[in-house]
């Protein structure tokens, strides 16, 4: 076995309310590609952010080639030869490719930036990835895939000893991906330690030699890839704990067709999506992060433009084609990020509930919002959804997550949507609040609403869905019945067919 390139010992890190890393040990050898695998929230990003100097650990040591390393900032990390290729692209669009790559490490001559060296070196790094963009091109002119290439090239620039790839392929084409895998192979022969984070297990098997599996901030397994199986890794990721069965609570099966989508395409994001949603059913849209779930919802309700596709909703008994911009007349949407997109945090519970329905609160006689009607409306939903507040005027910011979510639900319920999209409705809620939201979803379906639920948490989605659609890289790759078990779902989402 070759030399130990990186050793992380007993790394602990906690955030308010959660211990993200509970003493993780990790060893990586020079010249190998190590996969770090885990479900969302397993702690793999936190661990890599610690290594990349983005986060400071509460305790623990890091050794690079057996030398203790003190990493306090991304620049420190770079000084130790650690390159971090981020998943969310860290790009400065109005600057050029070369400037983006060198922003904190410009070579200078007499105080002025040496653009010749800068451009030459960035061109070289890009060439390694098989790209010939002029380094003076503005990043705003590049496509997401090209930006990802620049991001990777930036990592190569410092001639790293350790390079971390966090979901590097999510926006790459097949050709670019193959090129990246070649580069990774090249790095390995140069003795670089490659750490590879991905949701796509098929990539792990083709790129990596060894794997660590994290769950809930702990290392739960791993070993040589050749000794591991697909099913084995999935088992470790989700744990032995069985899904609590909520099947009894689930809504009854489907009524008539409420929404039909055909051939929906958004170039580079969604590919030929078609599905049906029925009244009274809860359809679970299941897929890994980056599979296009949220993008699909956004495209249907007109928040993102679409290139192609047909959307039809049931309106007065007939199925009628609609434009995405009108979709909100039929479809209620609970966004993934309720704090930023769904609520006006400093405003009161009352204002937040009445917000989308102010027109209904204006009487003809006196064209101002009728305070009495507004209070009645707010009270109705506070009671119906059992929102726990000290009063209607309590600022939403001070409510618990579950109650905030209920406020958003209440706002939409007043508009009586026949279709309800819920993106991560239970994210960040405690067990009790989750159960309440689950009950609300079930009740909605039982009252005839067609509900589409997206969740990254397999237990959550399994607890409410009657049927599943599986998404993988912008396509619907399968449909599973409500009786599908966890292994089937995980396997389908990872693209193993």
């Amino acid at each position: 076995m070759s030399a130990v390139g990186l050793r992380m010992v007993n790394i602990q890190k906690s955030f308010p309310g959660i211990q993200a890393l509970k003493g993780v040990d990790l060893e990586a050898y020079a010249g190998e590609a190590l996969a770090v695998i885990g479900a969302n929230g397993a702690g793999k990003s936190t661990l890599m952010n610690v290594l990349g100097g983005v986060l400071r650990p509460d305790s623990g040591e890091i050794y690079i080639h057996d030398e203790p390393a003190e990493i306090h900032s991304p620049l420190d990390a770079a000084r130790y030869g650690i390159a971090f290729v981020h998943q969310e692209m860290a790009m400065l669009p109005t600057l050029t490719i070369a400037e983006n790559m060198f922003i904190s490490t410009f070579p200078t001559q007499a105080g002025l930036i040496d653009y010749r060296t800068t451009n030459e070196q960035s061109a070289q790094a890009l060439a390694r990835l098989g790209c010939d963009f002029p380094p003076g091109t503005r990043v705003s002119h590049l496509s997401p895939g090209d930006r990802q290439i620049v991001e990777i090239a930036r990592g190569l620039l410092i001639h790293p000893k350790i390079i971390i790839f966090d979901e590097p392929t999510s926006s790459l084409t097949r050709r670019e991906k193959a090129r990246l895998f070649d580069v990774i192979a090249g790095l390995k022969t140069e003795g670089v330690t490659v750490i590879y984070i991905t949701h796509f297990l098929d990539e792990v098997f083709s790129v990596c030699e060894r794997a660590y599996v994290l769950r809930n901030g702990e290392t739960v397994g791993g070993g040589m890839i050749k000794d591991l199986t697909y099913q084995g890794i999935v088992q470790m990721m989700i744990g032995a704990k069985e899904v609590t069965s909520y099947f009894g609570q689930k809504a009854d099966q489907a009524g008539e067709l409420a929404l039909k989508v055909e051939g929906l395409t958004r170039s580079g994001v969604l590919q030929d999506i078609g599905f049906e949603l029925h009244k009274g059913e809860v359809l679970g849209l299941w897929g890994l992060l980056g599979s296009g779930r949220t993008e699909l919802l956004r495209a249907i309700i007109g928040l993102d433009p679409i290139d192609n596709g047909k959307i039809m909703v049931r309106d007065h008994g007939n199925l009628k084609p609609i434009q995405p911009k009108d979709a909100m007349n039929w479809i209620g949407m609970l966004t993934e990020n309720r704090r930023d997109e769904g609520l006006l945090l400093p405003m009161s519970v009352k204002s937040n509930i009445s917000l989308a329905n102010l027109r209904g609160l204006v009487t003809n006689f006196w064209p101002l919002v009728n305070a009495g009607l507004e209070t009645t409306l707010a009270e109705k939903f506070v009671n119906r959804l059992a929102i726990k507040t000290s009063g209607l005027n309590q600022p939403v910011a001070t409510l618990s997550g579950g109650n905030q979510q209920k406020v958003v639900v209440g706002r939409w319920l007043e508009r009586n949507p026949t279709i309800f999209f819920m993106d991560e409705p239970m994210r960040g809620l405690d067990v009790g609040a989750k159960a309440e939201i689950r009950t609300i979803i079930t009740e909605l379906a039982q009252s005839g609403t067609a509900v589409l639920v997206v969740s990254s948490e397999i237990e959550e989605i399994m607890s409410v869905s009657n049927r599943y659609l599986v998404m993988h890289r912008g396509r619907i790759t399968g449909e599973l019945p409500g009786t599908a078990d966890k292994d089937e779902l995980v396997a389908a989402a990872a693209g193993n067919r």
């Binding site: 860290a90 400065l92 922003i103 490490t105 895939g145 790759t477």
Partner: protein, 330 residues
Amino acid sequence: MIKKFNLQDFLMSYGFTIIFALVLIFFALGTENFLTINNILTVLANAAPWLVMATGLALVIMTGSIDISIGSILFLALALGNSLMLYRGLPVAIGIPLVFLIGALLGSLNGLLIVVVGINPLITTMGMMFALRGLALWLTSGLVQNIPPALQQFGRIGLFKEFIILTAAVILVLVHLLVTRTTFGRHVMAIGNNAEVAARLGVRVKRVRFLTYVMSGLMVCVGGTLQIMQISNVHPRLGQGYEFTAIAAAVVGGISLFGGEGSIIPGLVMGGLTLVIVENGLTHLGVSPYVYPFVRGGIIFLAMYADAMKSRVMARVHVTKDEELTTASA
């Protein structure tokens, strides 16, 4: 990536230059004395101090921030410096650098409040705008002060216009180099793009933002000192509204208020010159001076409209067209 000619892109990139040229032609044909060496010198000499004053603020705007205290900073710094020169016999050679120093210090006070204390930039500099003006009025008892005789005489020398134009040109080139060719300048742009990303990439965001405010305070005093030699006195309304003229010059010149976009040369220079040229041209046309603010407002709206159009066009991301999704999962 092959670039094809695209009329929309062309107009977006050069539209302003075209309008600028049309305005010049209009005034040149419409008036007799507009296109004379003497008038051109006058225009440039009028614009020179404004351009210098706006350079520091332009840096602040490029980070996506704002500073509306520069007029008051200038007034207080000149009132202090001038009083010392006039009544305490401070030599001009010390007095003028002292004015610059006071400007830089007041700018750093802005920087501290914004970067360290974390007060909103608009509120901070608005507070400073009122407070510093008040302080300076109290100091001068609201009276008009002449500037030292030496400076008055210097303002009247034969080649003063040439001097002021040349000085401004040198300063503008230097600041232009600062923006385009130094790490500091590129960090300013990086912060204007996205401060969080910049920080993650190792840019010392707080330090750079602080320095832009120091520059803002310093440069307004440099430009203001050039101007004061033309006016010959420090009066109670000195600097009033300067911040908005400077912002207008920057914005008309294509420096986006959202940050990360724009240049000193040609951007700020073109913007500043446009404002001065239009007013100069209107004078030659014999238009009432009361119309000028209205025209200036119109120019600003046009510039902002062009800016908004530009960001709308740019927002359409060019998506890579190829086999990707169809084959990636195969």
